[in-house]
C-alpha cells in the first residue's frame, strides 16, 4: 500500500457528509423567487426589474468593498447577499428613488458586517433596513406596488408557485407558512369589513413563504417555530387592524425576533435522561 498523505492527519468523525450546503440553500431560495419576477414583468410591474438591478449592482459593490476593507470573505459566493438583495427589491416600491434603494442595500450590508456576517445577526438585516427606510423616508416608502392595490391573480399564483418551490426544497417547517396564513386569515375574517383580496393573499403568502424563511432569527425547535409564527401572525394582524401590510409584517417579525432567545431557552427538546448514554464512538 502506498504510504502517502492520507495517513498524516487525524480526522474526527463523521467522515461522510450530506450534500447539503449553505450555497445550495441560498441559491435555491433565490430560484424560488424567479416566478414572482417573471409574473411582475407581465402584469405591468416591470419597474421592479429596475429596482432589482440597482439592488444587485449595489450589493455586489458594497459587499466587495466591505470584504476589501475588513479582509474577510465576502457573502457573494454562497448567494446570501444576492438573495437578500432580490428579496429587498420586492419589499420597496418600484418607483422608489435609486439613492434610497442604494442606501437600503448599504444598511443591510453594514448591519450584517457589524454583527459578524452570515448567521450572527439577531434581527433580519433585510427587515431592519426596510424599517429604517420606512422611518427615514415615510413619504416615499410605502407598500411594494406588486403587493398593494387590488393585486393581481398572476402575482398571487407566482408567489404560490415560489412557495411550492421553496417547500419542495424541504429547508423549513411546513407549519410556518401554514400557521401564519391561518392566523392572518382568521383575523381578517374576524375583522370582517374588507373581503379577502388578491393583494391581501399575495402579501400574506409572500411573508409566510419568503420573509419567514430566514432560519437565523427563528427559534431552534419546531415547537418554538410554531410559537414564533403564531406571535408574528397575531402581531401583523393587530398592527394593521382589519387587514395586512408588509410594513406591519416587518415590524411584527422584528418584534418576534427579539423574543427568539427566550423561546430558545423556554422551549427545549425533550431528552431521555432515564437511560445512561453509551457513545457510538470509541471511549478515550
Amino acid at each position: 500500500m502506498p504510504e502517502t498523505g492520507y495517513l498524516q492527519t487525524r480526522q474526527l468523525p463523521p467522515h461522510i457528509r450530506s450534500t447539503d450546503s449553505l450555497a445550495k440553500r441560498f441559491w435555491g431560495q433565490g430560484i424560488a423567487l424567479l416566478p414572482i419576477f417573471i409574473a411582475a414583468c407581465f402584469t405591468g410591474h416591470a419597474g421592479i426589474l429596475r429596482v432589482l438591478l440597482i439592488c444587485l449592482v449595489s450589493v455586489v459593490s458594497v459587499e466587495f468593498l466591505i470584504a476589501k476593507l475588513s479582509g474577510k470573505k465576502d457573502n457573494l459566493h454562497n448567494g446570501e447577499a444576492v438573495l437578500t438583495a432580490a428579496l429587498f427589491s420586492l419589499l420597496v416600491p418600484s418607483r422608489c428613488a435609486s439613492e434610497i434603494i442604494i442606501f437600503g442595500v448599504f444598511i443591510i450590508s453594514i448591519i450584517r458586517a457589524m454583527f459578524g456576517g452570515t448567521g450572527t445577526y439577531p434581527l433580519q438585516p433585510l427587515l431592519l433596513a426596510r424599517a429604517i427606510l420606512q422611518l427615514s423616508f415615510s413619504n416615499k416608502m410605502g407598500e411594494p406596488m406588486l403587493l398593494a392595490g387590488e393585486g393581481s391573480l398572476w402575482v398571487l399564483v407566482s408567489i404560490g408557485l415560489g412557495g411550492v418551490l421553496l417547500m419542495s426544497q424541504k429547508k423549513g417547517y411546513w407549519e410556518n407558512p401554514v400557521f401564519f396564513i391561518a392566523v392572518c386569515a382568521v383575523f381578517k375574517i374576524l375583522g370582517g369589513a374588507y373581503g379577502i383580496t388578491a393583494a391581501f393573499l399575495s402579501s400574506v403568502l409572500f411573508t409566510a413563504f419568503f420573509l419567514l424563511a430566514d432560519p437565523v432569527v427563528l427559534p431552534l425547535t419546531r415547537r418554538g417555530n410554531i410559537y414564533f409564527v403564531l406571535g408574528a401572525g397575531i402581531l401583523s394582524s393587530c398592527l394593521e387592524a382589519g387587514g395586512f401590510s408588509i410594513s406591519a409584517a416587518t415590524c411584527a417579525l422584528l418584534w418576534m425576533s427579539l423574543i427568539t432567545p427566550w423561546l430558545d431557552v423556554l422551549i427545549r427538546p425533550v431528552t431521555f435522561k432515564s437511560i445512561k448514554p453509551l457513545k457510538a464512538t470509541h471511549p478515550r
Binding site: 468523525p13 463523521p14 467522515h15 425533550v270
Partner: protein
C-alpha cells in the same frame, strides 16, 4: 401538543453493504508474521520475552484475580502460535499508546487447535458462567469493550436480553455475516447470557430491510421450540440499532430491565462455554471503495490493519482515509501498523470522493441538527456555546448526554465540526468548565 407523533429518529444513509456481502462465507487469512495483542489496564502479562505460546494460550491475567473471584479485568489469550518478541507500549488505533504483547510466528505456521464440543456444557450452573466469561477473556464487541461478566453484574435485575444484529453504519456487515453463518450458535449464546443474568426473555433486534435474516432467525427459533425468544425489527436508519436507542425505544423509563449485547458477543459466549475456546479472534469487515476484495472475515486480535487489508488483496487505489469502524463514528488512522481489537468492527479504506475535506461555515440555525438528533438534544445550542467558550451553558444543554453518533455533523448545512465541539465540552473536567 400541536405536533404529530415523531417519526423514528435517524437518517437514511446509502448502505453500501453489497460489495462485502458478495463474499459472505467467513474465512481465516494466512497467519501474519507478527501480532500485537493489547493488554488492558486491568490485566497483567503472565508471559515473558522469549516464551513460546500457542493459539488460545493465556498471556495476561486480570490484576485482581488473586484477591477476588470476579475481578474487573479479563484474561487475554494469544491469537497465533509463536514466540513472545517483546512487551512494550505501542501505538493503538485511538491515537494513544497501550501496553502490547508482540508475538512472532515461526517460519512455518502451526495449525490452529480444534476446539471440541464439551458434553456437559448445557448443565453448567449460572453462577459459574461469570468465571468462565472472565477466564475466556470475553468483552463486548462494541466500542465500549466492557467485560461481559461485569456488564451482566451491572444489569443484575434485567428481565430481557436483547441481541443486537444491526449494523446501522454503511459498509459494515460483520454482525450480519456472522449471523447468517452461525445462527444457531448465536441463539445458544443468547440463551447462555439469559441464564447468566437470570432473565426471562430474549429479543433479537434486526433491521427491517434485512428480511432474509429475520426469516432465518425465526426459523431457527421455531426448530428450537423456544417460546421465550422474539424477533423485533428496527428501522434501517442510522443510528437506530445502537444500544441506547434500542433501550430508549423498547424500554422507555425502565432501561435497567434489559441488557443489550451484540450478536458477535453472544457467539463468543457460546464458543467460550460450549467449546472452551477463549476470545482471541473476531469477525471484521474490511471494505470501502479502495479495497480490492471487500469482505467480512475472521481476524486474530492483534493483527495489524496493514495485514488485514492485505488479506483482502490490498487496495486498488490510494485511499483518502483509513478508518477503524464505520464512516459515521469510526476513527481515522494515522498509521496502518495499529492492531485490531475487540472493538474493531470494520477497517475501511475510503477514497477522496467519499471522505471529502469540508470547509466549516457559520451556523445559520437551520435546525437540521436539532430535528435529527436521536437523543433529542440541541446540538446547535451546545456547539454555539462551546464556540464562545461558554462551557457551563453547553453542559446545561446536555452535552454529556450526547451519544456521539455524528448525525448532527452529517446533516449540518454549514459543515461545522459539531462532534469535535461536543467532545471538547464532554471531555472537560468540572473545574475547567468553571474556570472557563
Amino acid at each position: 401538543m400541536l405536533l404529530p407523533k415523531r417519526s423514528p429518529p435517524g437518517i437514511r444513509l446509502e448502505r453500501k453493504k453489497d460489495a462485502s456481502l458478495l463474499n459472505w462465507n467467513l474465512k481465516r487469512p494466512y497467519p501474519p508474521e507478527t501480532i500485537h495483542i493489547t493488554v488492558p489496564s486491568k490485566a497483567t502479562p503472565c508471559v515473558r520475552t522469549g516464551d513460546k505460546v500457542v493459539t488460545g494460550q493465556k498471556i495476561a491475567v486480570p490484576q485482581t484475580q488473586n484477591e477476588s473471584v470476579a475481578g474487573e479485568g479479563v484474561s487475554i489469550h494469544a491469537g497465533i502460535t509463536g514466540t513472545v518478541e517483546r512487551i512494550a507500549e505501542l501505538p493503538n488505533a485511538l491515537g494513544g499508546k497501550s501496553l502490547m504483547i508482540e508475538i512472532r510466528r515461526p517460519r512455518e505456521p502451526k495449525p490452529t487447535p480444534a476446539w471440541d464440543l464439551r458434553k456437559d456444557w448445557e448443565q453448567i450452573p449460572a453462577e459459574k458462567l461469570a468465571g468462565i466469561f472472565q477466564e475466556s477473556g470475553l468483552v463486548t464487541t462494541d466500542p465500549q469493550m466492557e467485560p461481559v461478566h461485569l456488564k451482566l453484574a451491572r444489569h443484575g435485575g434485567a428481565r430481557t436480553v436483547i441481541i443486537n444484529l444491526c449494523d446501522p453504519e454503511p459498509y459494515i456487515t460483520c454482525e450480519q455475516v456472522l449471523a447468517l453463518s452461525h445462527p444457531v450458535e448465536i441463539l445458544r449464546g443468547a440463551e447462555l447470557l439469559k441464564k447468566a443474568c437470570g432473565a426471562e426473555k430474549i429479543i433479537f433486534a434486526i433491521e427491517n430491510c434485512n428480511g432474509e435474516m429475520i426469516e432465518l432467525i425465526k426459523s431457527k427459533i421455531y426448530f428450537l421450540t423456544w417460546s421465550h425468544v422474539e424477533v423485533r425489527t428496527v428501522p434501517a436508519l442510522y443510528p437506530q440499532g445502537l444500544e441506547t436507542l434500542l433501550l430508549q425505544e423498547w424500554f422507555p423509563g425502565e432501561a435497567c430491565s434489559a441488557v443489550v449485547f451484540p450478536a458477535s458477543t453472544a457467539f463468543t459466549v457460546y464458543e467460550a462455554v460450549a467449546l472452551g475456546k477463549p476470545f482471541y479472534e473476531r469477525v471484521v469487515t474490511v471494505g470501502g471503495e479502495c479495497v480490492v476484495e471487500p469482505r467480512s472475515l475472521w481476524l486474530p486480535l492483534g493483527i495489524s490493519f496493514q495485514n488485514a487489508i492485505q488479506a483482502c488483496k490490498g487496495v486498488m487505489r490510494e485511499p483518502r482515509r483509513v478508518l477503524m469502524g464505520g464512516p459515521m463514528a469510526g476513527e481515522a488512522q494515522a498509521s496502518l501498523d495499529v492492531p485490531v481489537t475487540a472493538a474493531t468492527s470494520a477497517i475501511l479504506a475510503l477514497p477522496k470522493e467519499i471522505a471529502k475535506e469540508v470547509v466549516a461555515e457559520p451556523c445559520i440555525r437551520c435546525n437540521l441538527c436539532v430535528d435529527h438528533c436521536p437523543v433529542s438534544l440541541s446540538p446547535a445550542m451546545i456547539t454555539l456555546a462551546a464556540e464562545t467558550k461558554e462551557f457551563s451553558t453547553a453542559r446545561e444543554w446536555g452535552a454529556s448526554e450526547c451519544i456521539e453518533c455524528g448525525v448532527c455533523a452529517y446533516v449540518c448545512s454549514s459543515k461545522r465540526p459539531m462532534l469535535e465541539l461536543i467532545r471538547k465540552v464532554s471531555s472537560l473536567k468540572e473545574s475547567e468548565v468553571l474556570h472557563a
